[in-house]
Point group: C2
Chain length 455, copies 2
């Protein structure tokens, strides 16, 4: 498909392109044009031309599926009239997203191209804090008064030509837009024409407040399986709705942020390839520096016990096994706890329950790992006269490392949550650094005892 369109563009056969476009989904047309741009295979002017081939209502939707750089490029090539047409066909929440992405001079053109009513709504949404329900809602929804009849409502929907995002649920309000119930389109369709909406509506409504965190909003979707949630102000007046596709986007973004934090990377707004090398390096270097410098603690500890490994050099060879195993145990636990918290399975009040559970797990794991390690050392160094002492020493240290690291791995993320730091920041790399230091400390102290070394 990609190559067919490319060839058609090169042959200037725009009739063919138009025909192909008419059979594609909007998201796919956007993908196609984005690809042409990213791979620099089609001239910028021709891409603008391709966009102009689209029917007006399709164009706006294709536009929303594009990435920021393409959007900016297109807006800059639009005449004022063209821009107005696109903006006119965008949903309010998409216009707001656009404004948040674009540089200041482009924003001014977008606002100029919006009609006064939309501009008022855009400004209202922009005023809500970033990451709040208010900032992710759309103001396009259907609300009706409770005393309207089913027939009148159907008539009104028919005459207004509603947009698809909003038509599945009708919000029932009384004076001042106060939300008193919801009605699915199904109930509307299967009721008698002269029934009043107030009698068939569901008076139990799940709402979110404008100030609610968008992560909480997204989790409500996962819980209740709704297509849309109404957003209300503090006096229960409906001001907008959040739709499930925006909730899916938030879930995806939040998860991506968690992944990044857990790998000690500052999250990036853009995709992997769109982020320049320097920004990638900048997002990664800070944490690497912190972790590298904090590993100095381990090196000081090791330096302190020089006498120990000068006497028994084989002790050194066991350091990677100990710190590696401790790090892995810690990362297992912290990941389970962090994921459990973001799914809402683990809450702060479960603090001691989690610690007790991880303690029991760590004891089982520690005993098995200690025993296997004991056997491994006995086999590997069987010719060494001090093999038994070494095996005892390393295995005891493994047991201690496993239990310590599993406890640290559950305490730190929960403590972070308690003081409102992102628990994902307390993941594997951070915990490994702490576990490395404490494991070496415990290890050499056990060694001093077992081998009767004095320092």
């Amino acid at each position: 498909m990609y190559d067919i369109v490319k060839d058609a563009v090169e042959a200037r056969d725009f009739r063919k392109v138009k025909e192909i476009f008419s059979k594609l989904e909007e998201a796919d047309i956007a993908d196609l044009m984005q690809g042409f741009h990213d791979n620099k295979e089609v001239d910028t002017k021709d891409i603008t031309l391709l966009f102009r081939l689209l029917p007006k209502d399709t164009a706006a939707e294709v536009f929303t599926y594009m990435e920021s750089d393409m959007k900016e490029l297109l807006i800059n090539s639009f005449t004022d009239t063209e821009l107005e047409e696109v903006i006119d066909n965008l949903f309010i929440d998409d216009t707001v997203d656009l404004i948040e992405e674009m540089p200041a001079n482009v924003v001014q053109r977008i606002l100029d191209a919006s009609d006064p009513q939309s501009r008022r709504q855009i400004n209202m949404i922009l005023k809500y804090p970033e990451d709040s329900a208010g900032s992710m809602m759309t103001t396009e929804f259907i609300y009706m008064k409770r005393h309207m009849s089913v027939g009148e409502t159907l008539q009104k929907i028919r005459s207004l030509g509603m947009v698809k995002e909003t038509v599945y649920t009708i919000y029932i309000t009384e004076a001042d837009r106060k939300l008193i119930g919801v009605l699915s389109i199904l109930d509307l369709l299967t009721s008698d024409d002269d029934e009043e909406l107030g009698n068939i509506m569901d008076p139990n409504v799940i709402t979110v407040e404008t100030t609610e965190d968008r992560e909480v909003v997204a989790s409500q979707f996962a819980k209740y399986d709704y297509v849309a949630l109404p957003v209300v102000d503090n006096e229960n007046r409906i001001v907008g709705i959040v739709t499930f596709d925006d909730a899916m986007d938030v879930i995806e973004e939040e998860v991506t942020e968690d992944f990044a934090h857990m790998a000690a990377v500052e999250p990036s707004e853009e995709s992997y390839f769109k982020t320049p090398v320097f920004i990638h390096a900048k997002n990664r270097i800070m944490w690497l520096l912190v972790l590298m410098l904090s590993s100095t603690i381990s090196s000081v500890i090791i330096g302190h016990y020089e006498a120990a490994f000068a006497t028994v050099p084989l002790l050194v060879a066991s350091i990677p096994t100990l710190t590696g195993t401790g790090g892995n145990c810690g990362s297992q636990t912290s990941t389970m706890v962090i994921r459990g918290m973001s799914l809402g399975e683990i809450e702060l009040k479960d603090f001691f329950k989690v610690i007790f559970k991880e303690f029991r797990i760590s004891v089982i794991v520690a005993i098995i790992l200690g025993a296997v390690n004991f056997a491994r050392i006995c086999i590997q160094y069987h010719s060494d006269p001090q093999v038994t002492k070494l095996a005892i020493c390393v295995s005891l240290a493994i047991v201690a490392a496993v239990i310590m690291s599993k406890l640290i791995g559950c305490i730190l993320p929960m403590a972070a949550k308690a003081v409102k730091i992102d628990p994902a920041l307390m993941a594997a790399p951070f915990i490994s650094t702490i576990v490395d230091a404490s494991t070496t400390l415990v290890f050499f102290n056990i060694a001093l005892l077992v081998f009767h070394i004095r320092i």
Copy 2:
């Protein structure tokens, strides 16, 4: 709310419970009862009693929101008639999920309680491979012939009393259920009564095949923002639909699986607290053992260079810094690549593009880390006569470790994907183990050169 209901149950005031239930969402009622059960605060018999207080249509929905153990408990306490009522009100896909969760004796009771038509559909869905589109679809959807009029269709919807999951989109078929178009309820409502469906339908339909992987299906939802996707067989006959809420569940499960794999844990089907301590330990021990035993390679390498650190004991103190930094760099890259692949941003054909990008990032990062580390050692060990040599040696090793680990961190997950292993398995812990060994090897070889040591 929780305590009010609990008190009411203890006071045997079931009228009050019933009143509270009537104001709650089904998901919340299920949560409440699950809580009573999990905390053993309410007797099992009383929980069954609570369930019987629910109106029949609510009961089935509450049932679907419960966890397996509660479902099993309830089914065992149901009479055959009660079971039939619940099963009757379940959507086919929920019944299938139930059958997949329950032990064999319970499954037989469920199948007996289903009417013959549902049983046929259940058996059909059960035949599709696990994790395929066929296994996650529901067979309850609306399809109409192309020559029907809008008015007839509205009439039919009204008389059938459609279920909410399916009413938003109408699928248009010709003979043999062959799918030829879709029509949103919006277009239906805003069209003239005597218009033919074939004239107003959208003939471009995005479909998924029954055999398609459920992860691919979920990504289609994220891409196209649809409420439902039709599932077709290999002759384009519509056999079911997948709804967005099931797609959201799949995304959540897949992400949880990725998190688990990346922390070297076998994923669990149940939530954190529902999984017993022994299962948690079992899910974690295997990888820990493999990684612990493979760290023997590092210990052999270190043992081999005993002469080096016997001459310059300070070398040992730098091992944690080196392996730690290498591990963190590797985990940053592998996480970015794994996440990029699961979002579809990075594909296999980008192999060399990714390697080149990570190489450039790693050079920037390596130079900064090497320089800072050089300074750190000069300050920390300024009194040692060999401080410059040590600083050169460790910093060069850092540079090598960063570049190596970033390259390993992008090559391994992509290679895993190429041979159809879950890339998430090639994450931090696995990469650290490889990086640890290669870093120590490089480090000691640099040391031999710089300090002119012979082994």
